[in-house]
Assembly symmetry: C2
Homo-oligomer: 166 residues x 2
Amino acid sequence: MQLRWYSYAMRIPEQSQPSLAISDDVACSIERSLMVLGERWSPLILRELHYGARRFADIRDRLGIASNLLSKRLKALVDAGVVMTAPYRDEGSRVRLEYRLTEPGVQALIVLGALQQWGDRYLPRQAGPSVVRTRRGTDEELQVGFVTEGGALVSLDEVQMRPTLA
Amino acid sequence: MQLRWYSYAMRIPEQSQPSLAISDDVACSIERSLMVLGERWSPLILRELHYGARRFADIRDRLGIASNLLSKRLKALVDAGVVMTAPYRDEGSRVRLEYRLTEPGVQALIVLGALQQWGDRYLPRQAGPSVVRTRRGTDEELQVGFVTEGGALVSLDEVQMRPTLA
């Protein structure tokens, strides 16, 4: 994981560093993450990209979001290094950009899954959950939780959050 | 899990139902959860309660938050059913309220952990993470991830988010 993160960080050339620079004064990673992932629409845009949407018009139509707002949010996500752009061209059209998740964007699935699971349980809608999380190709439902290095689920009363001196 | 949720829901008398009623029109559980957990300061207040803080003055001093803002946020969390109050009285003082996590508040630890982990990896501070998550009584670091019903970690490319018709 650390290695993967390093390789990601090293792939970003200096000039494309996040414009959404988050000051080191914001010590809490929860708050830092919410500054990128918590903005209204951003988690929904990431969700659509996770589903496989790549084109501006598709994301816009699926979310029913105004174009100018979607542009703004996508730009912030690109600046933050969560989404990247790639050119594509349809037959007879000009070159456009499509949007893809970077490794941090893929990893944000854990945050989205945790939020979904909590909302499904504690703020349920009458109609039931709008999304289920399953193991690919099966109906086996997955949950989000704390796991040991060995990959085994740990109950919440075994989880200790320990402040460091940092 | 389902059973625990039911017993929680049944404990809430009708008149103390969340004033922060979230319309069923907000279909996405991610968005529903962020309406409760994503508000500025709320995750930090929940974090302090997870650490064991219970009294208003302790939470205020630990976060450096203004009293009126903390009151407002605590009220919203109580209204949402994430935090509950209990009376206490110090020798020679009037009765005051202390704050405790409800079962949904305890379960929000998974969301907080997922946000922390993501921020630690992708928005790191020079000084390093301000919190580590370990298995109680050990130095074994825990991660947040997707697990099967059997309790085993699943890699992200095996995770499928599937929209329902709801």
